[in-house]
Symmetry: C2
Subunit: 400 residues, 2 copies
């Protein structure tokens, strides 16, 4: 008899990551990739990492290499609580759960909060990785419509009864938008009015170029919010280190889900990162990242203004890693991608960042990252993209 593997129903909701498939494509030599959300690798603090690792292996090797607490390394949890206080979010270190990247935080939130056919409210567009983390738990996604300022507080009523609203308020992936303080306040009021919990994700908040973003919306929500943070963008993603801050009502279940998922995040990595950050290293390191990314943001803004054919629109993000481009109606960013790659440039089509009907309706959007490649390559890539788009527009006009 042949062995019969039977998949769980939820496995149908697991799908290849569009972005990761595109990233493979764009690793070909000669392609300027504006697709990935990869931090610039030559900005990684290798010397600080080396010194910290050396110290951990000299002073606390056995503790660093042994099994450890599922909650995370105590001093690192304290450090996180202190940092958040500086950003306007007062939490107790006991509410901090260290995770294996903030992607794991999303998975744990999904596991603990989402039942099949329960509703989860998301921005439109929203972060694809969150959709991928939540989808296996089989929710129905509800899109909250909005504008360049963020989700529309009045539109929140559509989310009444949802398990939570997932928000990425600072320099959102993919749209680049940052919610104003007023919008945060209005959204917090609207969510509180209908008893809607919020899951706030903040991987990019430290990457501001001109002024820090307003305090987290979680600061206005008390026990009505879960907050997720990450070391991936301010230190290095290859360490896989993030955290979840949860109210007392949720923390124990998230912790048990964490134990079931991987027992604990590598103590080795936690202790190294704590050694790196404990004495204020980020206060000099992060401004250097900001300066670099600001220059590249400016280069991309100039290149887009120069090379995009008329009819294309783009934002100018005040932080983070992404430009969001809207092409003239009728152009399909997914269909154009092979031609762009042929022309030497890659991007991520925007449609997968939308849920439901909105996905097809936004076939004419795409996301560009300005952090991975330096300014001259940004210019080269955007010029190539402009050429592909101009050609596609000309072909479109010819058939009309």
């Amino acid at each position: 008899m042949t062995t019969a593997w039977t998949m769980a129903r939820r496995a149908a909701r697991l799908n290849p990551s569009t972005i990761r498939e595109i990233l493979k494509l764009t690793e070909l030599p000669g392609i300027v990739s504006l697709a990935g959300g990869l931090p610039a690798a030559d900005g990684f603090p290798v010397d600080a990492m080396r010194a910290a690792t050396e110290r951990v292996l000299r002073e606390q090797p056995r503790e660093a290499l042994q099994y450890a607490a599922s909650e995370g390394y105590g001093p690192l949890r304290e450090w996180v609580a202190g940092e958040l206080a500086a950003q306007g979010l007062t939490v107790d270190a006991a509410q901090v759960l260290i995770t294996t990247g903030s992607q794991q935080g999303l998975d744990l939130v999904g596991k603990v909060l989402i039942d099949p056919d329960s509703r989860v409210a998301v921005e439109s567009p929203t972060y694809l990785g969150a959709l991928q983390a939540f989808a296996p738990f089989e929710p129905r996604f509800v899109a909250v419509e909005g504008d360049d300022e963020g989700p529309d507080p009045a539109a929140l009523t559509a989310a009444r009864g949802a398990r939570f609203l997932y928000l990425l308020p600072n320099f959102q992936n993919p749209s680049g938008r940052c919610l104003s303080a007023a919008r945060r306040a209005a959204l917090a009021d609207a969510a509180t009015a209908i008893g809607l919990p919020v899951v706030e994700d903040n991987p990019y908040g430290e990457l501001w170029f001109d002024a820090p973003p307003p305090p987290p919306i979680s600061a206005r929500l008390g026990d009505g919010a879960v907050y997720l943070g990450s070391f991936s963008k301010v230190l290095a993603p290859g360490l896989r280190l993030g955290y979840v801050v949860a109210p007392k009502a949720l923390y124990p279940k998230l912790l048990q889900a964490k134990q079931a998922a991987d027992l604990h995040t590598p103590g080795f990595n936690q202790r190294i990162v704590y050694e790196v950050v404990r004495d204020g290293f980020l206060h000099t390191h992060v401004p250097a990242i900001r300066a670099r990314y600001r220059t590249q943001r400016d280069a991309m803004r100039a290149a887009l203004a120069r090379h995009l054919p008329s009819g294309c629109r783009f934002n100018a993000p005040a932080g983070g890693m992404f430009f969001w481009v809207t092409l003239p109606q009728g152009l399909d960013a997914t269909a154009l991608l092979p031609r762009a790659v042929e022309a030497g440039v890659a991007y991520v089509p925007g449609a997968p960042f939308f849920v439901g009907d909105a996905e097809a309706a936004h076939a004419n959007t795409l996301r560009l990252s300005f952090v991975t490649v330096p300014a001259p390559l940004i210019e080269q890539g955007v010029r190539a993209l402009g050429g592909v788009l101009a050609e596609a527009l000309a072909a479109q006009e010819a058939t009309q």
Copy 2:
């Protein structure tokens, strides 16, 4: 309005880890803990780790600190395939998925294969961490009865139609038992006859004292098996590094579940471990662990023979980390634990390793680890345990 967090139904199946709660208790000073499955920390290869880390941060810092492939680091996957071949299991490196500890492998297997109310067959007793990983996906557990040689092949018919049989064939946690080659063959035949897939977990196989265990049962099952391995016991658990080997029919879904769960296992850790193991380091390191653990196994065997009151039974494991003790009927290992801790020794009660009715029926079992503390403390701890048990037996007799 108060914010209403609604938990997913599966959250009711998430529970505090009995063992982790006990471990907290036993971290009190003066307690000889025979409870934890913690490898002896002074056997961690700190020098090799230091050299490997130094090399990785010198030669490939950017690659090690950047986002990486969800499948894992290519050379490490190749290395795993080579090691498994040496143990009699021929697999392609493309079948190897690197995980954040083998606990994550169990979580991914559960996510992809278990529907609510589907059946999952387990040994009796079985590994508690596997029950905790699978439980949130809401299976009904089916216990496969057996003897000191392992599960009874004839009893497998009770598991017909289950999503899979979970087996830990080498020096099982908690029972210490190791399946003979004949039993593996009979189980493989019985599983194949009813089309029952097998998930084989092998964290302890390298920790043999006299002779290596027989080849993995997966070697007899082809595409009918998933195999899980770990670096926690041969190197260090604080790195959180394990792997899943999956047939082609399952690999893509496990990979997508991995992406959703934490994107990828830290590339930093994968590259360090590869640098440690690539040139045969384990061929000298693991024999040293074996020698140390064998000595401690012998010490515990002698201490148990000396100090356990008559009526207690124990095995003598040929590898791994655990003795399994059966107390006279009427003694309850969970109820006795506080008295044992008072007397200066801790263990893990055996009941939680059973499912269904068998849990209460095995209240008189307990697990002892011989790897964390050295021989003199093993003697001291077992003597204290013997005293507590003798006292409990005397009290029992007095009331009869």
